[in-house]
């Protein structure tokens, strides 16, 4: 397959989107496949019986034989099925596209499914991947142990989830979040610390939101935010902190600062919101937290102390057998106070579909599209506006890939973080406390307004006026994002997409590393 700007191996910052395949796969060009494979098509609903405990894994993040995006409709006819902890309504047809997920049978269930206009061999493993979910029972055990803690204190359990790549950290977070709102009306705070995976936000952000109602089981991004207007399910009012880079190591100091800002704000919310406080927190982390543990020791310490983490769940890349023996060898034991914090090690979740870079970028593109155009259920219209070059004052943070960051020798953020703790979140960083390198990492630089710099760029709009001191901009709240769709150097004008009608707010703007080609 070849999508413009998405040739394999493309690793640049540009996120491109083929309008045919993404915007309207159904009405896209009709491709005729002449092979002799028996194909599933829309005229043939298929039936599947999932026995209790079986899991049907669907890999929709890839394309079919002719490069179309796979779209599947699923109806649960009887029994109980769930997607990552959220139950499907029976006799309702759900549509899924562009993500890898699985359907778990809680009871013996009968499922009807169909594919639309797609060329998929019926024996393709992607629609036949039914396996027993052996580890679901541990997730239930963990959930009810956590639920028991919720019943017993006004300060709910604070769970930090760590683990290797592709062990199911985000799935576990999502399942635990979903389960926690089922029995009682808890509203646990979910925090996503992985800027590479967009959850209730465009990519490049970290995010915190109480899970106060159903997670949208059709959405890889969990839920829409209130910035999408009215949606089919209740949306979230998230706290968004913009990191803006693709990789944490692109500006590690800024990442740490972003996390610190977020946790300070979350802490104040918990103080104000007894229901959320009581429901606890579930924190999802990028795999580097665990894999490059030594580099992140200070970050982990900051999270554990700021959030008063009492449960650390480690998802092991290994299988069940050796877990109990390896638990004591976990390096994490070195940095935590065993009296305050229990460490639980679980085998990796059953049926995790490994994420590759292409899939990660697909989700990032979709999250940007989602922010401006809505999702499968709710189409929304972005507002098109334009402005003169002279109206644009755009800043950016430098890429400061400190080679020492991930080899264990860096002592990240140590200078600033402890003093912050003592001052209870007051931002009193002074340049004196920081190394010169850190100062450099956190210094905004003006961006020259021209086509190469800005075409297709996502820019962050802050809740502070245009002329705000650069140092203060980084401490401000994120108001939203704009997409620069066109930079006309001749006429010295830019065209932009905004989520909200109106002209471009006269606010501080910071360029992100993300590009989106419509």
């Amino acid at each position: 397959m070849s999508l413009p700007g998405l040739e394999p191996g493309h690793t640049g910052n540009t996120l491109s989107l083929d309008s045919d395949s993404i915007n309207d796969p159904i009405n896209g060009p009709i491709n005729i496949y002449n092979g002799d494979v028996k194909l599933a098509n829309k005229d043939e609903p298929q039936y599947l019986t999932l026995s209790i405990g079986m899991q049907w894994s669907l890999e929709l993040g890839k394309q079919d034989l002719v490069g179309q995006h796979v779209k599947i409709y699923i109806t649960v006819l009887s029994g109980i099925c769930e997607v990552l902890g959220t139950e499907l309504a029976n006799d309702v047809e759900y549509c899924f596209q562009d993500w890898n997920f699985s359907v778990l049978a809680i009871e013996d269930s009968r499922i009807k499914w169909r594919l639309v206009n797609l060329m998929i061999p019926l024996d393709d493993p992607f629609i036949n991947n039914v396996t027993p979910n052996d580890n679901a029972k541990y997730v239930y055990n963990l959930h009810f142990a956590i639920e028991k803690l919720r019943c017993s204190s006004f300060t709910g359990p604070k769970v930090l989830i760590l683990g290797n790549k592709n062990t199911g950290k985000t799935s576990l977070s999502r399942i635990l979040s979903s389960y926690s709102i089922k029995n009682k009306a808890y509203q646990p705070m979910f925090i996503n610390l992985d800027p590479e995976q967009p959850i209730v936000s465009p990519p490049g952000c970290i995010m915190a939101t109480p899970i106060s109602d159903l997670i949208d089981l059709q959405s890889p991004f969990w839920n829409e935010s209130l910035t999408s207007g009215a949606t089919k399910l209740h949306s979230r009012q998230p706290l968004i902190k913009n990191f803006g880079f693709e990789k944490i190591e692109d500006n590690f100091d800024w990442y740490v600062d972003t996390v610190r800002q977020m946790l300070d704000t979350v802490d104040r919310r918990l103080y104000n919101d007894p229901l959320v406080q009581r429901s606890g927190c579930i924190i999802d982390t990028p795999s580097c937290f665990y894999e490059s543990y030594e580099s992140f020791e200070s970050v982990l310490n900051m999270i554990i102390s700021k959030m008063k983490i009492d449960i650390i769940v480690i998802l092991s890349a290994n299988t069940n057998n050796d877990i109990s023996t390896t638990i004591n060898a976990e390096p994490i034991n070195k940095i935590i106070d065993k009296n305050k914090c229990s460490v639980i090690k679980l085998p990796k979740l059953t049926g995790v579909i490994p994420n590759d870079d292409a899939y990660k970028r697909l989700l990032q593109r979709l999250a940007i599209r989602d922010y401006f155009y809505g999702d499968l259920n709710t189409v929304i219209t972005p507002y098109v506006t334009s402005c003169d070059f002279t109206d644009l004052i755009i800043w950016e943070l430098p890429v400061n890939n400190r080679s020492d960051t991930f080899n264990g020798s860096a002592n990240v953020g140590d200078a600033s973080i402890p003093s912050n703790n003592q001052n209870n979140g007051n931002n009193n960083n002074t340049e004196n406390d920081m190394s010169a390198d850190t100062v450099k990492s956190l210094t905004l630089q003006p961006v020259e307004v021209n086509q190469p710099n800005l075409q297709h760029a996502i820019i962050t709009i802050y809740h502070c006026p245009k002329r705000t001191e650069p140092k203060q901009i980084l401490q401000s709240s994120v108001m939203g994002f704009a997409l620069i769709t066109e930079v006309n150097e001749k006429r010295q004008r830019c065209k932009l997409l905004l989520p909200v009608p109106g002209s471009l707010p006269k606010n501080a703007l910071v360029l992100t590393s993300y590009r989106y080609l419509e």
């Binding site: 309504a89 009810f144 142990a145 207007g229 219209t381 709240s477 994120v478 009608p501 109106g502």
Partner: protein
């Protein structure tokens, strides 16, 4: 109303709204609620009266059934409350429903005249019942007139046809008598005489020229005779049924009763074929013994049945008595004790057609009751127990069509098709199982759920969790939303939440479907959304505001019109303060503008009382269109003008200009001010 009452009343209202068909389960639910919440009687009565008054004619009868059931089962104070407006409602309803429903209303009324078991007195007081009876007498006299005018103008060929039909009918009876070796009976001779008369009449008609009036007389007389014969045939079926009832074995009870129905049905069809072929669907089915008043009565009945029998080829008719027997023993039980059959409208409703004037004929009913009692005494009746599958079937199978099939097997087949599916039964069993478990578990008393590495990975914990605790997050809350799958429990609070939740789905879906809006001409924006998610989109709120945000503002699905409550106002003020921060000199949007409660409005004016007089320019008042509005327009109740929303660029919201909100209603700010000043 306190909160609990409000919840119960809301629930009652919710259930009542589901009563769009004749559903015994719904009526039972309503009755139970009425019984259990006597303190809410006043509100229930109000809601139910309102329902009878306001719902579409086709559903009024069911609401009356609910009233009936509540009054008969819960008794006073419901009977007293309902008596007040009963006549008014009854009359109003009677006058706008079709004849089919009228007959059912009459049956219903008739049942009210019978003494109840509890008090030995009729359900309602005598005055109320008398007024209704008088009304029905007048109404039936009108019917009589209508009927005569509805009969086709008698012509000689038409009368010939009638005579031929009657001849055929009489011949059938003669054949019956012959088959039964009753050739010497009085009836046999009478029938022979009747045939002779018919023959004579035919000759007369053929020879002589009679006046229109005379022909009319002949016509009416023929109808009367016809009614007698029809009557006879129905009596015959009734006797057959009784005989079969005697033979019933307990186990075969259901099948038997089915065969009654098909048998009776079949016979009736035969009868119509012989007797009513030329009437093409308007065959007349008398229902009563032909005595003294029979002329008028049967005519009324004919009238009442005209529509009925023409509407449905599957209807059949018997006497008041056998109609109960013709169904199952269980419904016989219902039928006699309550005078009402909710369960099987299609098989029973036509049977129930009786004339209120025939009430004097209690003896018939008494005879049946006696028969029933003696059968039951001899253990010849099978009465299904409360938890039997038969009762369950009756409940689930509340609508059953009986067609004219003469095959018992096909009836059984149909019956089994209508049995609940395995998955339905499994659902019931599993829900029940889960409920039993959930009621007996407690997270606090579960040492195995102490959070330790050993416990989480232990098989013992897994077993306890998978056998017990897991139900807490699935079937322990048996009411699963059919739209989103969210589960709700059985407590009144949970049920109330589910009501709100359903309302919310409804509103949001209506809204998401998209409507086309026309922005005001003099508005600057050209943003007209069609088939799109038109309502406001927002920026993220500032961190400081997020710190004070409560998610209940998003997830609260309650549509609250009571903007006066102090907590709401407190809430309002709190939010207002949050909303005042500005960026870049512009008004900033506020979190509550996205919320679902209509009273949470933005703009310069939040309520009429507090700031109305402070503003110099009334036209500056506006209200942000609440997300909960299905329609983005409202009608000012003062000037009747329709106000459509426009998009305001500055605040980024759809708003109604020159609008204020008072007590959940919207008015032009100018209109309101003017009216208030007068």
């Amino acid at each position: 109303m306190d909160g609990e009452t409000e919840a119960v009343v809301k629930q009652f209202d919710f259930v009542l709204k589901e009563l769009t068909f004749n559903s015994r389960p719904i009526i039972t639910t309503l009755t139970k609620m009425a019984e259990e919440n006597i303190s809410c009687a006043k509100y229930f009565v109000e809601i139910l009266e309102n329902r009878i008054d306001k719902c579409v004619p086709s559903q009024k009868l069911f609401a009356f059934y609910a009233l009936d059931s509540i009054c008969k089962n819960a008794g006073s104070p419901y009977t007293i409350f309902f008596s007040k407006n009963l006549f008014k409602l009854y009359k109003k309803t009677y006058l706008i429903v079709n004849n089919q429903v009228r007959t059912k209303l009459i049956s219903l009324f008739k049942s009210w005249l019978q003494p109840t078991k509890a008090t030995g007195e009729p359900v309602f007081d005598k005055t109320t019942l008398n007024v209704i009876e008088n009304f029905l007498v007048k109404a039936s006299a009108l019917h009589q007139k209508n009927l005569e005018s509805m009969l086709p103008t008698p012509t000689i060929p038409l009368l010939f046809k009638e005579i031929d039909k009657l001849t055929a009918l009489s011949n059938e009876r003669i054949k019956d008598l012959k088959d039964n070796n009753n050739v010497n009976s009085e009836d046999y001779n009478k029938l022979l005489a009747k045939l002779e008369v018919l023959k004579q009449l035919r000759l007369v008609l053929a020879k002589e020229k009679l006046s229109g009036n005379a022909l009319k007389q002949v016509q009416l007389q023929l109808k009367q005779v016809f009614a007698q014969d029809q009557q006879y045939l129905q009596e015959k079926h009734r006797i057959q049924q009784q005989q079969q009832l005697h033979q019933q074995q307990q186990g075969a009870e259901r099948e038997q009763s089915q065969s009654f129905i098909s048998n009776e049905n079949y016979s009736f069809n035969t009868t119509s074929n012989i007797a009513g072929a030329s009437h093409s669907g308007t065959s007349i089915i008398p229902l009563f013994n032909n005595n003294k008043n029979s002329d008028r009565i049967s005519n009324l009945n004919k009238d009442l049945n005209l529509q009925n029998s023409s509407e449905s080829s599957t209807t059949f008719s018997t006497l008041f008595g056998p109609n109960s027997l013709s169904t199952t023993a269980s419904s016989l039980n219902y039928g006699i004790s309550s005078g009402l059959n909710f369960t099987q409208p299609n098989s029973n409703n036509t049977n129930n057609v009786t004339d209120f004037l025939e009430l004097g004929k209690q003896s018939k009913l008494n005879k049946l009751q006696n028969l029933y009692d003696s059968l039951s005494k001899e253990n010849l009746l099978y009465i299904p127990s409360k938890n039997s599958i038969v009762t369950l079937f009756d409940k689930l199978n509340s609508i059953r069509n009986v067609d004219g099939s003469d095959s018992i097997n096909s009836d059984i087949e149909k019956l089994s098709q209508k049995l609940p599916s395995i998955s339905t039964l499994l659902n019931i069993l599993n829900d029940f199982h889960a409920l039993m478990i959930v009621n007996n578990i407690n997270l606090d008393n579960a040492p195995k759920l102490q959070l330790t590495q050993e416990n989480i990975l232990s098989n013992e914990t897994s077993k306890i969790v998978m056998d017990n605790f897991i139900h807490l997050i699935y079937r322990g809350k048996p009411n699963k939303c059919s739209t989103c799958g969210k589960r709700y429990g059985n407590t009144p609070h949970e049920k109330m939440l589910q009501c709100y939740h359903l309302d919310w789905h409804f509103r949001i879906n209506r809204r998401l479907k998209g409507t086309s809006y026309n922005a005001d001409d003099n508005n600057s924006t050209t943003f007209v959304a069609t088939q799109r998610n038109i309502q406001s989109r927002n920026w993220y709120i500032p961190d400081l505001q997020w710190v004070g945000f409560k998610d209940d503002e998003i997830v609260s699905t309650r549509f609250n019109n009571d903007s006066k409550s102090t907590t709401d106002i407190g809430e309002e003020n709190r939010k207002r303060n949050f909303g005042e921060d500005t960026v870049g000199g512009k008004r900033k949007k506020r979190s509550e503008e996205n919320m679902s409660s209509p009273q949470k409005i933005g703009g310069n004016i939040n309520s009429a009382e507090d700031t109305m007089d402070l503003s110099a320019d009334l036209h500056e008042h506006y209200v942000i269109v609440p997300e909960t509005m299905v329609d983005n327009s409202y009608k000012c109740s003062i000037c009747q003008e329709k106000v459509t929303s426009i998009y305001d660029d500055d605040i980024g919201e759809w708003i109604w200009k020159n609008t204020i909100q008072v007590d959940g209603k919207y008015y032009h700010a100018t209109c309101y001010k003017e009216t208030k000043n007068i």
